[in-house]
């Protein structure tokens, strides 16, 4: 009897607490973070949340802040590096205390941006200067800005590919597979490394979207059609991955791969190729320097497909920086975002693509210019819908799971055929489309 009373009291108390915890609270909706007119008058301490733990630890971020203070002497910038950024920030965003400047985590629905972030301006005015504005735009207002642009592609070891007798970028998936085969036959290198165990590198394959057919409307097609239909963007990419593994052109035991080790191994020529993105180039070059080999051996090539005789690469933003709607120093926060995007040198330091319209390509992508690779920016109007369908269907195009299954299928650790597998994905996807349409 007594024990029951205690339990009942516990439940009652908990229920009371619950009301407090799940209460939706009155979020103020719609605020602007205006750029300050006079840099010397802005003041306040702002907290910047970042996923770049490495840069905070080695003091690089502090250097940026010191540089920033030369223009904005009244602003004190503090950094908080979150190791597991997505998960940690998600929980903090249930409160009002999630820094002054933060990267918009993928979990936040686009329609909710105005509830969490202060607007940086309208699409009309910002798109003149910046790329990627529509990735964070809600009702004509922009809520975030990525400091860099990224582009998917194969990081490869030029020396190994040359030794295998291939000097021109393959233009079709079949040519690419033939190239990997030549590497397997003529060199000691592992032609392709999946990074299956780390998992997330496999998600890079989702970013083939748009590069296959040079289609700026590729994201809309994801939202409206079956992404794994014959010849569809993701279908082509995933089929290539399947074939690479099925033909034994990938590492022997994918289940125990090691991402950190894969960098020096590629630099040294033990691994020939990995599908990643421009963001990876600098990491592989650093690994090459540390391993004492030539960083210029690290090359970058586009997806083996051409439209009208030209390669194509789709640019997309990295994490977008935004201003917390609850920030008390929105001007200072805005000043940081503008400065970090335009003047910090973060782009150059990372050999990345600039988010500014018409900025030149970094030196490392010179071959892209020479080869006349067409850079396109995908229309992200349907981006929110794609995310919705993805979560609904539990396919997870931004998660490693289904591609791990695909690799398992290709190496015979899982029963079934490629067509059946892709059809199954397509079915789940299109079923969710019907529900998410509302």
């Amino acid at each position: 009897m007594n024990r029951r009373t205690v339990l009942a009291t516990a439940a009652a108390t908990a229920a009371l607490l619950l009301a407090a915890c799940t209460g939706t609270g009155g979020t103020s909706k719609g605020a602007d973070a205006k750029a300050p007119d006079d840099p010397s008058k802005v003041s306040g301490t702002i907290t910047v949340l970042t996923q770049r733990t490495d840069l905070v630890q080695d003091g690089t971020m502090e250097k940026y802040a010191a540089e920033f203070n030369k223009t904005y002497p009244g602003v004190k910038v503090e950094f908080q590096a979150l190791t597991n950024y997505e998960a940690e920030v998600k929980i903090r965003m249930n409160t009002e205390n999630y820094g002054d400047v933060l990267m918009i985590p993928a979990v936040i629905k686009k329609a909710d941006y105005p509830k969490f972030f202060a607007s940086l301006g309208t699409v009309a005015e910002r798109s003149k200067k910046y790329r990627f504005t529509d990735f964070t735009a809600v009702d004509g207002k922009v809520y975030g800005q990525s400091p860099i642009g990224v582009m998917p592609g194969f990081v490869y070891n030029k020396r190994v590919w040359r030794e295998a007798g291939i000097t021109e970028w393959p233009t079709t998936p079949d040519e690419f597979l033939a190239g990997l085969k030549a590497i397997k036959d003529k060199t000691d290198a592992i032609p392709y490394y999946t990074n299956f165990a780390a998992g997330w590198p496999l998600t890079s394959w989702t970013y083939v979207n748009g590069s296959v057919h040079c289609d700026t409307q590729a994201t809309t097609k994801l939202a409206e059609g079956d992404p794994w239909a014959e010849g569809a963007e993701l279908g082509v990419g995933d089929t290539l991955l399947y074939e690479i593994v099925r033909r034994g052109l990938a590492e022997k035991d994918p289940t125990t791969t090691n991402w950190e080790e894969s960098k020096p191994r590629l630099a040294k020529g033990e691994i020939a190729t990995q599908w990643l993105g421009t963001w990876a180039i600098i990491q592989f070059q650093d690994a090459a320097r540390q391993a004492g080999v030539n960083p210029d051996d690290i090359g970058f090539m586009p997806f083996p497909a051409q439209a009208d005789g030209r390669f194509c690469a789709a640019l997309s933003p990295d994490y977008n920086q935004a201003v917390n709607i609850h920030s008390e120093h929105k001007e200072a926060a805005r000043a940081w975002i503008d400065w970090f995007t335009d003047k910090s040198g973060y782009v150059e330091d990372n050999l990345a693509l600039s988010p500014l319209q018409n900025a030149p390509l970094p030196e490392v992508l010179k071959p892209y210019e020479d080869a006349g690779v067409k850079l396109i920016e995908l229309d992200d109007a349907a981006g929110a819908q794609v995310k919705e369908i993805d979560a609904q269907s539990e396919v997870g195009i931004y998660a490693p799971d289904y591609r791990q299954d695909l690799v398992d299928l290709a190496r015979g650790a899982r029963q079934g055929s490629l067509d059946g597998f892709l059809d199954d994905l397509g079915e789940k996807w299109t079923a969710a489309q019907a529900n998410a349409g509302s």
């Binding site: 205690v6 908990a14 998600k90 289940t255 125990t256 979560a391 998660a399």
Partner: protein, 315 residues
């Protein structure tokens, strides 16, 4: 625990007055009645805030479509539960628990074996105790990473086998069967120590006169085990079995760190985590967690029914 405290806290009015000095003023008596509660305040507050409140909260979320961060959530009734029980794929992962269940049988047998041996006077007894218990002290995440190297192609396991002239070209985590067996093996390695210590404690609490008497009567080691140790540790054995079953159903750490659920190693908890944090279906994931809780409670209940916990009296 709670029962005794209650008795102490509220002396029943019918019962004859406790042998306290009857002349104590009322205030002091009330104070005395309050004391145990004051002591209980801290643990109860912690228990409520960190155990019961989150559970109630989770149960509440399981009736909504919350995505884990959005300020808006809608009540969906039993929709999440209906989804869990009607989607076959969500329950298939329980087959993986079979591997862990089989492993825990091995684990309990081995733990019992070692505990019995080390319960007698053996040379280097304490050293072996340490060796067996040590893995349990290591952080699960570290174990995951260590064993990733262990199972790598050309890693520790392959080299050790190579020393004995066995050269397999087997990818230990390569197929679902092999991967699950390997992972279950790691889990045996890790939790063996805990079971072992529980058994050892129970065995050592058996009065030593019993062994002496048994030895005088000419009982051999097996007979001692069968008639003294086995009945003596029955309550602990039951507890261990319950822990093993619930542990197998909710296996998480080792497979999550080592394979992330790839290659058919996804357990129910990994699936729940993915639902909550990958697909942002916090509501559905909460419902899955509640279902797991109920399943474990049910299994425990059935087990207690089958093997009632009688008081064992050795003497």
């Amino acid at each position: 625990m709670t029962d005794t405290t209650h008795k102490a806290a509220r002396p029943s009015p019918v019962a004859p007055p406790a042998p306290v000095p009857a002349k104590a003023p009322r205030g002091a008596r009330r104070w005395r009645g309050l004391t145990p509660w004051l002591f209980l305040l801290a643990p109860l507050a912690l228990l409520l805030v960190f155990t019961y409140a989150p559970i109630v909260n989770m149960v509440a979320y399981s009736f909504t479509d919350w995505d884990g961060v959005s300020p808006e959530l809608h009540y969906t009734g039993v929709g999440n539960y209906v989804e869990i029980f009607t989607r076959e794929d969500l329950f298939q992962v329980f087959f993986v628990s079979g591997y862990y269940l089989a492993a825990s049988v091995v684990q309990i047998a081995a733990a019992l074996y070692f505990a019995t041996i080390l319960g007698f006077n053996v040379r280097f007894r304490n050293f072996f105790k340490g060796v067996l218990f040590f893995p349990y002290l290591i952080n699960g995440v570290a174990i995951g990473f260590v064993f990733l190297y262990f199972f790598q192609d050309g890693g520790t396991l392959d080299s050790v086998l190579g020393l004995f002239g066995v050269h397999t070209d087997h990818a230990w985590l390569g197929t679902p069967t092999s991967a699950n067996t390997s992972l279950a093996g790691v889990s045996v390695w890790r939790y063996l120590g805990l079971n072992f210590v529980l058994f050892l404690g129970a065995i050592q609490s058996i009065p030593s006169e019993l062994y002496e008497a048994a030895e005088l009567d000419g009982a051999n080691r097996w007979q001692q085990f069968r008639h003294i140790i086995a009945p003596g540790i029955k309550p602990v054995l039951t507890l261990t079995v319950i822990l093993s079953i619930s542990g197998s159903l909710s296996a998480f750490e080792i497979p999550y760190i080592m394979t992330g659920g790839a290659t058919g190693t996804e357990t129910f908890v990994i699936q729940t985590v993915k639902l909550a944090f990958q697909f942002n279906k916090t509501g559905l994931a909460s419902a899955a967690a509640v279902v797991l809780l109920l399943i474990i409670l049910a299994v425990t209940w059935v087990q207690r029914r089958l093997v009632p916990d009688e008081r064992v009296d050795l003497v």
